[in-house]
Subunit: 419 residues, 2 copies
Amino acid sequence: MSLKPKRTVAELKELRALTGDENGAQRVAWSDTWLKAREWFTSKLTGLPVEEHYDAAGNHWVTLPGESEKALLIGGHLDSVPNGGWLDGALNVLAGLEILRRVNYERGHDRGHEFRGRPPVTIRLVDWADEEGARFGRSLLGSSAFAGTATIAADRVRTDREGTRMEDALRRCGVEIDRFHEATAEQANAGAYIELHIEQGPVLERMGLPLGVVLGTKGVERHAITFHGQEAHSGSTPMNARRDALAACAKLALEIRAIAGKHPDAVCTMGSVKTFPGIVTAVVGRCEATLDQRDLDAGTLAMMLREARKASERFAAEERCTVDWSRIWQIEPIAFDARMIELCDEAVRETAGRSHRMPSGPLHDAAEVSRAGIPTVMMFVQSLGGISHNKVEDTREEHLELAVRAFDGLASKAIAHLS
Amino acid sequence: MSLKPKRTVAELKELRALTGDENGAQRVAWSDTWLKAREWFTSKLTGLPVEEHYDAAGNHWVTLPGESEKALLIGGHLDSVPNGGWLDGALNVLAGLEILRRVNYERGHDRGHEFRGRPPVTIRLVDWADEEGARFGRSLLGSSAFAGTATIAADRVRTDREGTRMEDALRRCGVEIDRFHEATAEQANAGAYIELHIEQGPVLERMGLPLGVVLGTKGVERHAITFHGQEAHSGSTPMNARRDALAACAKLALEIRAIAGKHPDAVCTMGSVKTFPGIVTAVVGRCEATLDQRDLDAGTLAMMLREARKASERFAAEERCTVDWSRIWQIEPIAFDARMIELCDEAVRETAGRSHRMPSGPLHDAAEVSRAGIPTVMMFVQSLGGISHNKVEDTREEHLELAVRAFDGLASKAIAHLS
């Protein structure tokens, strides 16, 4: 048997033991532990007839040449958030490695088969640099350089908590931010991109399905909202004389659920609320909140933003407060390739019997690759409890093995499609 | 004219210039600036035939002996919060000083009158130590020592932000916490206690009244409330799969207004909300809030607490969260003396034409004095915008003068009552 999904699980555990501690995975990009993980991964390539190099953005490319230069790209990322999980990103890389081994095996290097030469198309596995953005707050760094959407001017001056500049941290790892644009050269001959990832949400588990097909990544509108009322003494200010900024914000915290609820896959989240002065004896004079809204449809996303803004103004008026909005970040919805979605759906059904198509709320490197115009799809495997970015992140081992199998099936279909 | 209310205003400004800066009053108890304020106050006593001393809790007593040892106590506090207002506490002390001067004047030290000897009862002005509790979080410190309600064991180990222990800060000012109980000796012969204070709320201003009579201080129930939900990714967690601790808390933030609204003078305040992890990309897994509830009626207060707790449990259940309560602090409602309230009401009507009776939401030293069984009443003067504990705290000068006049009238009535 050429494909060994159990080996992928064993290697994930090996990586966890090497780069995790009692608090979880510690492979934060540009750290020594991350470099150690990459070194370990390189050691796993021994014996495979691959070319490998790091591009100008620090992405690690492993190429198994095919008859054609046209390439199937397979991506993942070894970096993690601090105290992260053992699967997020690493599963993708190691499943991709298993596919390289399987394809290489089928070249005829096993005992029984005749030598069948190179695969019909080139297969390139990429370990993207700094998907998480955990240290400098800039996620999808390497893949955005690849896609040509990197924002160097804004990013180079970012600093981590210790005040280290992003530019300096990258230089230490041999990456010059000024040469980021050169990473777009890796797009040459790319015919398709596939990525396997844990779902990081509860949908598949709730449906009792091990695997799903990702339709694209949701667009995101992320805003800071500040309600301004009047700080006042909690003991001496009658209820009807108050201008309570928290009350206005509380109304919005509840209303966003109704706004999201009109659309099947939309989500709206108030993740942070801060009260000022924030003491037990004062009516809240200022309340700062964050709002994160996501949907796969750009029109729905825009409508939800309008509705939330209008609601916030209504609530501010009701509480005799005012409200300010400022955009933190946004990204448009990115729909994956229709043909690739079909191939992925077939692969999932052939392996697991049933499939489910769903958008991804979290962003992934696949979004950047898709922005570069490369036909892209992602496959999700069930997450237990929907928890990720945490040491308790987990997926049942039989599901991990099933995922490797289905992902390999998708690779075969993509290779056939590109041939 | 013996009583000079304009002098009180001038002295308040003098004190502000001496102990304030561009951010407001800086007379935090046990600080050098506070000691400077007390020294300045002592200098104002020159020429008055008074005995003065500090008691075991650092309260400053200024006694004008009368024919009877029975004493009218007049209280205030020179200490302020950091960046405080110019009136809170200091008005009381300086209005009391003006009363001492007026009474002394009437002894016959003016040109036209014959010498009339001592006043019929002893008059004692007290500058309470550390009313605000700004540095160590323990308000009404000096007056609680006087009342015998001090909680030495709990208080002595309190520390300020720099880690200085309360015990050491007091010792530096000549106060030994172990001798606090000796301050109860000052209760001897006390026949009544009166205190003038700015309202620190908007009620009198909204009614167009300069002065009011305080019925007592509201009881307070102060709790920390924590909702426990499930932290989850804002992008990958469907709305119906969430256990959003913020949503449960937001419902309570709105419900407490209905709970308070059933009672005319009751207030409920959620002054602080903290979200965890508190990031834009995560559903709130834990939400910590504070609740401050006040009413003059103990039964109402207990009912409001029960209702808030029940509501919190209902909201927690609705959001599939749990909720914990822990009491931060409580004090029972303290009703002032019925006869003293009548005297105060007369004095206000005689001076300002109209009076208004109201409870005090904020606590005052008068509450502790009342707990000691001494017939007590307070008079309020209008606050502009209801703002205090802030450099913009203010009251119209004509209202301050009116207040000194009415407070002096109350003193005369109390003296007559005790004679």
